[in-house]
C-alpha cells in the first residue's frame, strides 16, 4: 500500500477501534447525550432571566442564549483539537498499548492525526447536538455564511490541535502535569468570551486580562464564528480574526511537530514509552 493510501487506512483503523471501545461503554454514550440536553436547557432558562427589557451595547449578546449556543459547541470542538492527542497518548500509556502501536510501521504525523480522529468524530456529533437542541427545542435560528463559519472552525481547531501536540509532548515525557492544559483548557472558557463579552474583561479587570484574552486563539475563533453566524458578516469583515488565526497556525504547527518528535525520542531514550 502506498504512503498516500496508508494515512486514510490507518485513520480508519483508529476510528473503528475507538468506536468499538466507545460502543463497549454504551451507557456513557447515552448519558453524554442527556448531559448536552441538560446544559442546553439550563442555558435557555438562564437566558430567560434577561428576556424582558434587556439592553446591551454588545451586539452579539442581545440574545445571550444564541451567543452561548453558538460558542459552546465550537469551544467543545476547539478543546477536542487541543486535548485529544495528549488524552489519546495518556490513554495508550495507561492501558499499556502505546508500545504495541509504536511497534507497527506507523510514522509520527500519521499517529498524531489518527489517534485524534475519533475524538473529532465524536465532537462533531456532540456539537451538532447542541445546535440541534437549540434549533429544535428552543427556536434558535442562525444566519450568515455557514461555509465561512466552517473555515473558522477548521483553522481554529488546527491551531488548537498544534498546541495540543505540544501538550501531548508533556504527556509523553512528564506523564502528568501539563501547564498548557491549565492555560488553554481551563482558561479558554474564562478568557475567550464564551459566557460573556471579552470587552468586559478589560473594562472591569484591567487591560492585562484583556491582553490574555487576545492572546488566546479561541477568542479569535469564537469571535469570528459569532460575527458570521449571529451578525451575518462576510469574509471582508472577518479578515482580522482569520488572519490572526492563520499566523498562529504558521508559527505553532511546525514548532509543535518538532517538539513532539523530540519528546518521543526522549521517551525512547529513557525507556518510558509505556509508563504512565
Amino acid at each position: 500500500m502506498s504512503g498516500e493510501l496508508q494515512l486514510p487506512a490507518r485513520v480508519w483503523a483508529f476510528v473503528v477501534r475507538d468506536f468499538q471501545l466507545a460502543f463497549s461503554y454504551r451507557l456513557e454514550f447515552l448519558l453524554r447525550i442527556l448531559s448536552i440536553l441538560f446544559v442546553t436547557t439550563t442555558l435557555f432558562f438562564i437566558s430567560q432571566i434577561f428576556a424582558a427589557g434587556f439592553h446591551t451595547p454588545y451586539e452579539q449578546w442581545r440574545n445571550p442564549f444564541l451567543a452561548w449556543i453558538t460558542a459552546l459547541p465550537f469551544l467543545n470542538y476547539f478543546m477536542v483539537g487541543f486535548s485529544s492527542l495528549a488524552e489519546a497518548i495518556r490513554s495508550e500509556q495507561r492501558q499499556g498499548t502505546l508500545e504495541g502501536v509504536l511497534m507497527t510501521p506507523i510514522n509520527l504525523p500519521t499517529l498524531i492525526v489518527a489517534a485524534s480522529a475519533w475524538d473529532f468524530v465524536l465532537a462533531t456529533f456532540h456539537s451538532f447536538l447542541y445546535l440541534l437542541f437549540g434549533w429544535a427545542l428552543f427556536g434558535v435560528e442562525f444566519r450568515g455564511n455557514f461555509l465561512l463559519a466552517m473555515l473558522f472552525l477548521l483553522v481554529t481547531t488546527l491551531v488548537l490541535a498544534s498546541i495540543g501536540i505540544i501538550s501531548a509532548s508533556f504527556a509523553m515525557v512528564f506523564k502528568r502535569g501539563d501547564p498548557l492544559a491549565l492555560i488553554i483548557g481551563t482558561g479558554s472558557a474564562l478568557f475567550s468570551g464564551v459566557f460573556f463579552p471579552t470587552e468586559l474583561l478589560s473594562k472591569t479587570a484591567g487591560s492585562f486580562f484583556g491582553l490574555i484574552s487576545n492572546l488566546l486563539p479561541t477568542t479569535h475563533g469564537i469571535e469570528g464564528i459569532r460575527r458570521v453566524l449571529i451578525q451575518g458578516h462576510g469574509l471582508a469583515e472577518v479578515r482580522e480574526p482569520l488572519v490572526t488565526l492563520l499566523v498562529y497556525l504558521a508559527v505553532v504547527l511546525p514548532f509543535s511537530l518538532w517538539v513532539f518528535t523530540r519528546a518521543v525520542r526522549r521517551a525512547k531514550r529513557e525507556g518510558s514509552l509505556i509508563q504512565y
Binding site: 487506512a9 477501534r17 468499538q20 471501545l21 499499556g96 504495541g100 511497534m103 510501521p105 531514550r269 525507556g271
Partner: protein, 384 residues
C-alpha cells in the same frame, strides 16, 4: 498449521521479492540482526538537581557493549536471569528504546535512522499482557493491528483466521481480550507478532503461561518457521533452558547487561564443563571389587550395592578420554557384566549459573576496589 506456515513463507517470499532491490552489503545479508557495541544507560530524572543537592545519582546501566549477530533463518536464544538486560535488548532491536551507544541493524536497516522499515520487518511478541485493548474482542484487536500494518480488510481477515486456527483461538475470536486466560493472551501476543509475516521475530518468553501441550505445539510452530522455504529469523528469550536447547542453533548468555558467551548450546556446555560423570550398573562384581578394579583408571570412583545383585559405580572423566573404555574392559575382564551406562554433562543452567557467579564476583571485587579507593581518598583528605 502446515498450510499456515506455507502461507507465511509465501508472504515472506513475496515481500522479499518486493524489497530485493534495497542495497545491502554482503556481510549484512548474512546477518538478519546485527548488534554492534550497544550500551544502554537509563538517564536519571532531574540528575543535575539531585547532584546539586549532593544526592547519589546512580544511573541504571541496562546494557554494556553488547555485540553479536543473528543470522538469517536462525533461531537465536538469549538467556539470562531477571534484570540481566534481555527485555531492554529486545526493545532496542524493536526500536522501542534507543541505545545510548552503538548500533543495531535489522536486515541492513538502522534501528534509529530507518526505524519505520525496521518495524515493518520485525514482529515483537512481548510478555506484556497490557499491550492489547481489554474491552475489544480478540478478533477486533488483531484487526486493528493488521490495519496499522497496512493490510486490507480482506487480507487481514484471512490472515487472522489463519492465525486463530494455528494458535487454536478460533472459538475465542469473539471473546473480549480481558476474558481470555493468561495462556491465550500469550498466544495472542505471538499471533500479533506474526500478523504481517515479518522476516524477523522477537519472541520474549513465548511459552510462558502455556500448558505443556500448548507449549510443545508452540515450540513446534517456531521450529517450522525457520524450516520454511523462506525461513524467518527468530530471536528467542526464555527462562526455559530446555526450550532454548531444543530450539536454538546458537545462544547468547547475558548477565549484568553484558554478553558473557555466544555459541551453540553444546559448545557452551562443553566449554563450561569438559568433564562428565559416568554411572555404570554392573552385575557379577561387588562394590568393593568394582572400586578396586576401577581405582587404577578413575581415582574418584565410588561404588555401592544397589537393588538385587547389582552394583552402581560412579566416576568422572574428561570428555573423550580413554577412561570409560578402559573401565568397561577391566570390568568385563574381571567377569562382571555391564547392565547400563549413563553419563551426565553440564546443562545450560550450569553455564548460566557460572557466568552469573562470575558477574557477582566481579561486582563484589569492583565494590571492594571502589570502597578501598574511597577509604584512601578519605584518608588523604584527612591528612591534608
Amino acid at each position: 498449521m502446515a498450510r499456515t506456515l506455507e502461507t507465511d513463507a509465501a508472504q515472506r517470499h513475496e515481500r522479499d521479492a518486493r524489497t530485493a532491490t534495497r542495497p545491502r552489503a554482503d556481510e549484512e545479508r548474512r546477518a538478519a540482526i546485527s548488534i554492534q557495541n550497544v550500551s544502554k544507560t537509563y538517564p536519571v530524572p532531574l540528575a543535575r538537581v539531585k547532584r546539586f543537592f549532593r544526592r547519589d545519582v546512580g544511573e541504571v546501566t541496562a546494557l554494556t557493549d553488547v555485540s553479536f549477530d543473528v543470522r538469517e533463518g536462525e533461531i537465536f536464544g538469549l538467556i539470562g536471569r531477571n534484570g540481566a538486560g534481555k527485555t531492554t535488548l529486545t526493545k532496542v532491536i524493536a526500536t522501542l528504546v534507543q541505545p545510548t551507544r552503538g548500533a543495531v541493524s535489522v536486515l541492513g536497516f538502522d534501528s534509529v535512522r530507518d526505524e519505520e522499515r525496521v518495524r515493518a520487518s520485525v514482529g515483537l511478541a512481548g510478555a506484556e499482557e497490557r499491550s492489547f485493548y481489554w474491552r475489544l474482542t480478540a478478533e477486533q484487536n488483531l484487526m486493528f493491528f493488521a490495519r496499522l500494518y497496512g493490510m486490507s480488510s480482506r487480507a487481514a481477515r484471512r490472515r487472522i483466521a489463519e492465525l486463530f486456527e494455528q494458535f487454536e483461538l478460533t472459538d475465542l475470536a469473539r471473546r473480549r481480550f480481558g476474558e481470555l486466560s493468561t495462556g491465550n493472551k500469550q498466544r495472542m501476543a505471538v499471533a500479533r507478532a506474526m500478523l504481517n509475516s515479518p522476516p524477523v521475530l522477537l519472541l520474549d518468553e513465548p511459552t510462558r503461561s502455556l500448558d505443556p501441550v500448548a507449549a510443545a505445539r508452540m515450540r513446534a510452530g517456531i521450529g517450522e518457521l525457520v524450516r520454511a522455504e523462506r525461513p524467518a529469523t527468530v530471536l528467542l528469550t526464555s527462562h526455559n533452558l530446555a526450550e532454548v536447547e531444543e530450539l536454538c542453533a546458537r545462544v547468547a548468555i547475558i548477565s549484568g547487561g553484558r554478553i558473557r558467551a555466544v555459541g551453540t548450546p553444546a559448545a557452551l556446555r562443553d566449554e563450561h564443563r569438559r568433564r562428565e560423570s559416568v554411572r555404570l550398573t554392573v552385575r557379577g562384581a561387588s562394590a568393593d571389587e568394582a572400586a578396586r578394579i576401577l581405582r587404577e583408571f578413575a581415582p574418584d570412583v565410588r561404588a555401592e550395592a544397589s537393588a538385587g545383585d547389582e552394583t552402581e559405580v560412579r566416576f568422572t572423566r574428561e570428555l573423550g578420554d580413554e577412561r570409560l573404555d578402559l573401565a568397561l574392559r577391566a570390568l568385563q575382564a574381571a567377569g562382571a557384566r555391564v547392565v547400563s551406562c549413563e553419563s551426565g554433562r553440564g546443562t545450560l543452567l550450569d553455564v548460566l549459573e557460572r557466568y552469573d557467579a562470575e558477574h557477582e564476583a566481579g561486582d563484589d571485587a569492583e565494590r571492594e576496589t571502589s570502597d578501598e579507593e574511597a577509604a584512601r581518598d578519605s584518608a588523604t583528605k584527612e591528612r591534608a
